[in-house]
Symmetry: C2
Subunit: 290 residues, 2 copies
């Protein structure tokens, strides 16, 4: 176990509240009165999570959308966000992008903090939502016999990232302004046995879902809709930032939103993930580890 | 208006949810089901909010305690925290301090994020609580005729900071490990007309309370309990980090917790704050501006 993993485990050990899934999952769930509150917090760091020279409006959009995506995976309706903002250049553009994304999702900025510091600058966002269905979906509920489904396609963010990096004219909006599948998550919440958002790559996130559910997943790589050309298929399956929803449904159930069946759930085998019948010995190279 | 103030105002304009006091106040209040949820988010930045070489356990303590202090000022009972942690040295000590402060207050770590980045490193914390009394106290409710009260004393954190900075043997714990007045806040919430925590200095925070309440406050500087020697009295009134509660009560009401009457509320005069009868023309020099 790396020192980082040990630290994160020690933090997880602190997440002792019985109602909290804590750091072991995308978002925390807390019963308050007659509601289940869903909470998520992400940080973005300059030079780590966004390219130098990025449009600050895009940084603001992504900061909000990625947290709302965590709420989407819980079928939660967003109630508001709190922002931690490190002051510096680009604040007007940041405020513009923030206004755009909050307006798009109809989510209020509830509060936050502004601080001096950096470079590199870092930003934090907390999103708060209310579960629309209980039990709240988790990545831990997949059952052998379920099918594995994916909303949308993967690879568009990869293509967008490469367009920005290489300065080509290709469309980069999927990378710069990801969409949180809030409506899809709420529609799916009453039906799914497990659900998560694909933030780090389809394969690595499928591995995590399988581990959390104590099952094995088999993925048919040709079945996965990809945004890019065929030679980039495996790259698209390993790239993150698309924020689609990955979920499992009992066989025979048809999802109420556009989605593609990309695999199946089996009893736990000797590895958590099989791709086109090949066992994945470990999760190295499957996606973004952090 | 500075560029920073303009940015913060533009963020405030985004805080359009009617239930949210947003960035205009310490903590946001959100009605969810039959509960009022109180939310606060603060960031700490290396070299800005804590001394280089600080014990990481103290950094963790302060990060949590300062956010819980914002809940205390709302009379809220804490439900949990989310942590944004920038990986690096001292993580074991950080985890130890985090465990200590969460254990002390009986508050769970619900989730969060770990990221790479820095130096300088930055950390974010979101605290979530449940209001124990409604209406939830705000800094905006002081009425002419009320008296102004303060729990505890000010200046202890200043003395602790100076001991650390100068490497003396004096006790620095008040600076390193501030206490959040949660029990006092909950006991006071049903009685106060206005309440806030003193994070940036008694005088600057009193100015803010007066502005939010559209009143003038008169402070008797000699009445304020200070932790340091008499020649440092005015410094102690301007220093922050003590996290005592500043509140107003109708005349004749006696607070149910140890506190000292340090002044009175008057109809709004030509300035918001009078110290020993002297009008303060502006808030420069009254405390920590950020």
């Amino acid at each position: 176990m790396s020192r980082e993993a040990a630290f994160i485990d020690s933090l997880r050990a602190l997440a002792h509240h019985p109602a909290a899934r804590g750091l072991a999952d995308d978002a925390a769930v807390l019963e308050v009165g007659d509601e289940a509150i869903v909470l998520t917090h992400d940080m973005l760091v300059e030079g780590v999570h966004f390219l130098p020279g990025a449009d600050w409006a895009d940084v603001a959009w992504k900061l909000v959308a990625t947290n709302l995506s965590d709420l989407a995976a819980k079928g939660a309706e967003p109630l508001g966000v709190l922002l931690g903002f490190m002051l510096g250049e680009g604040r007007e553009r940041f405020a513009e992008g923030l206004a755009e994304v909050l307006e798009h999702y109809g989510v209020p900025l509830l509060g936050g903090d502004t601080v001096h510091g950096g470079p590199p600058r870092s930003f934090g966002l907390t999103a708060l939502g209310r579960a629309t269905h209980r039990p709240v979906p988790a990545r831990s509920g997949a059952q052998a016999g379920d099918l594995l489904w994916l909303t949308g396609e993967v690879g568009a963010a990869m293509a967008g990232f490469e367009a920005l990096r290489d300065g080509t004219a290709a469309d980069s909006i999927a990378y710069r302004r990801p969409m949180a599948r809030l409506a899809e998550g709420a529609a799916l919440a009453p039906l799914v046995t497990a659900m998560m958002d694909v933030s780090d790559g389809l394969l690595i996130d499928a591995w995590r879902l399988a581990e959390a559910s104590h099952v094995s997943l088999t993925i048919d790589s040709q079945a996965v809709p990809i945004a890019g050309p065929e030679p980039r298929r495996l790259d698209a399956l390993r790239w993150g930032d698309d924020y689609e929803l990955l979920f499992t449904l009992p066989a025979g159930l048809v999802p109420p939103v556009p989605a593609t069946s990309v695999g199946a759930v089996e009893p736990r085998g000797f590895v958590p993930l099989f791709i086109d019948g090949e066992p994945m010995a470990n999760r190295e190279g499957l996606g973004w580890e952090h």
